[in-house]
């Protein structure tokens, strides 16, 4: 087995460490979440908040949205050549915040529909889309910062 047992001098050690730092830049371009995924998930979450407009017969739509989100997650995982490590506490916090925001906006949609203000549902739908996009982008940024922090 090939081994390298010669302890490097300080200059060589610095060079090796610099190589490690430089290599991580090559990962950054592969670790960003694809735009198609961001757009698709944002649209699905916005569509979910619009579901109250369908009245009582909304189960098929909710099921399709849920299924589509799962398919997208699987596709993303299969296509990613650099799979990031866990997002950690910050990432989990973002997910919880997104879930809370979506549920809140969904309840607003239900209220608007119940009050006969169907056209105003566009507001929570747009808000849900904006929040989802912002959270996904923030999560992406956190993951890339974590990649840079590895030593």
């Amino acid at each position: 087995m090939e081994t390298h047992s010669v302890t490097p001098d300080p200059q060589r050690a610095n060079e090796l460490l610099a190589d490690l730092e430089g290599d991580r830049a090559a990962l950054a371009q592969h670790s960003a979440t694809p735009t198609w995924y961001l757009a698709a998930v944002t649209a699905l979450i916005a569509a979910y908040v619009a579901v109250p407009l369908l009245g009582e017969d909304r189960t098929p739509a909710v099921t399709m949205i849920g299924g589509a989100l799962i398919v997208l997650a699987v596709l993303l995982q299969q296509r990613r050549l650099v799979r990031p490590r866990g997002a950690g506490i910050a990432g989990a916090g973002l997910l919880v915040a997104l879930l809370a925001a979506v549920l809140l906006l969904l309840s607003v949609s239900f209220g608007l529909v119940a009050g006969g203000l169907h056209a105003w549902v566009a507001l929570p739908v747009l808000a849900a889309g904006a929040v989802a996009y912002a959270v996904l982008r923030r999560s992406d940024t956190l993951a890339r910062r974590a990649l840079d922090r590895v030593r």
């Binding site: 087995m1 090939e2 081994t3 390298h4 047992s5 302890t7 490097p8 001098d9 300080p10 050690a13 610095n14 090796l16 460490l17 190589d19 490690l20 290599d23 991580r24 090559a26 990962l27 592969h30 670790s31 596709l75 299969q78 296509r79 050549l81 650099v82 799979r83 990031p84 490590r85 866990g86 990649l147 922090r149 590895v150 030593r151």
Partner: protein
């Protein structure tokens, strides 16, 4: 050095020179894998600027030492039957790499060697 092994605080990695990891290509392979959960073979190859055969040789050394896992996966973007090869540092590999980098830092600072 940020230790990636569970239960080890970032500042508690004991510097330890590792002869297997120290080879320049293998050190850089470990450096790339330490930054992510899994990295595809072609990304590592292109980042290091080495051939498939060279990288495979070094991966075998790392795998034999228990530092790297190699996993094949189906590809949704390829039209042929070839699969993607994902590489991952094992927990032991992460500890060994962290310790080795800590040793390099100590040497660079004039404290080790």
């Amino acid at each position: 050095m940020s230790a990636d092994a569970p239960g080890v605080a970032p500042d508690e990695v004991a510097p330890r020179f590792d002869e297997v990891i120290h080879a320049p290509v293998r050190l850089r392979v470990c450096g790339l894998l330490a930054a992510a959960d899994q990295v595809e073979f072609s990304v590592v190859r292109d980042a290091l600027g080495v051939s498939d055969a060279t990288l495979s040789k070094h991966l075998k050394v790392l795998a034999d030492a228990g530092f790297v896992e190699v996993r094949k996966a189906a590809s949704t973007s390829r039209t042929d039957a070839r699969r993607l090869t994902f590489l991952r540092l094992t927990a032991e590999g992460r500890r060994a790499f962290s310790a080795h980098v800590a040793e390099l830092r100590a040497i660079a600072a004039g404290l080790g060697g």
